[in-house]
Symmetry: C2
Subunit: 196 residues, 2 copies
């Protein structure tokens, strides 16, 4: 590539980002090279900084620079209710909705026969242990309204049955086949309110 191996490597690594193909990676690289001080250097620093500091919370699986994470450590949040999400992206979506003030548990994915994701690949055992440990009264399963999401919800509900905890699911407002992370905040808030 004209411009040497440094630019080539930058383009290659940028093209690994979701949503960026080779062409948009080239555009992004040029965009950065033209905005060295304003964007490129700050972004490089922010990336190195986050890479060095951000870790999964040992309790809930949320990503944060502190452990326990800022949500687990927030005593104003309701510890008697846990919202179970597949991924940190879904936790962020729930937080943007502003409708949930309890604690979270990030499963780390969804059960999937196709992708070979088995129960032991997800943090379901850790969730089951949290229920008695933290005297949790309700677990809200905020999982995608897809086959994998609903299979996972069913499996988690079964695994939690021995604990006697109340298990609810997001209901109203989640479109069939829809993915949580794509929903607007209002729909998420409505779905939470009407959980069953």
């Amino acid at each position: 590539m004209a411009g040497g191996p440094e630019i080539e490597r930058l383009v290659l690594l940028l093209s690994k980002l979701p949503g960026l193909g080779p062409r948009s990676a080239r555009r992004a690289a040029l965009f950065l090279l033209k905005r060295r001080a304003l964007v490129m250097e700050p972004l490089a620093a922010a990336m190195a900084d986050a890479a060095a500091k951000v870790r999964p919370c040992s309790r809930c699986g949320n990503l944060d620079t502190i452990d326990l994470c800022s949500l687990c450590a927030d005593s104003r949040r309701d510890g008697s209710i846990i919202c179970v999400v597949a991924d940190v992206a879904d936790l962020w979506a729930m937080e943007r909705s502003g409708a949930f003030r309890g604690q979270y548990h990030v499963l780390g994915g969804l059960l999937s026969a196709l992708d070979g994701v088995r129960p032991e690949d997800l943090s379901i055992g850790r969730l089951a242990a949290r229920v008695p440990d933290e005297a949790v009264e309700e677990v809200v399963l905020a999982l995608n309204a897809t086959v994998d999401g609903q299979t996972t919800a069913h499996y988690v509900a079964e695994r939690l049955e021995p604990t006697g905890v109340r298990v609810s699911r997001l209901a109203h407002g989640v479109p069939v086949g829809g993915e949580l992370d794509y929903l607007d905040e209002g729909t998420l808030a409505a779905a939470l309110k009407a959980r069953r």
Copy 2:
């Protein structure tokens, strides 16, 4: 944002990249945080590295880690012909076509009444000086087949007239209204061959 200011800052800076909105910036941030060693740290390093080393070539305007750039410094390339492009992205596109073995000149944009880009904002004077200095025999104007591109081509051709250099343009194959950087390599090669 859940996860602290480091993640928030990372998302904010990623959302400045062309083609990434807030949602895809969040996805990209999570993607990176989950691939710390494999993608995030190497990308941060590649960005810092390129930001520190890459500069515009003092002769042609190409971006490279050396000055003169690797193309200007390549004595196997034909110094009697210069290909004029608006942007480094177009230079890269020409190089990918493999059809051009001369030298380049990057204008740094296109004349645009709408965007207020005037002749003195582009490196046209420097191009005019290169023609006698480097005994250039032909200048190929490889500019977008848009109004701005053709206005710029016309203006540059006029400015080069006193030098007596032969001025040609990409012809066959560039779709009307089409942008160079979107063209496939074969079309670019054909357009170059049939230049008029």
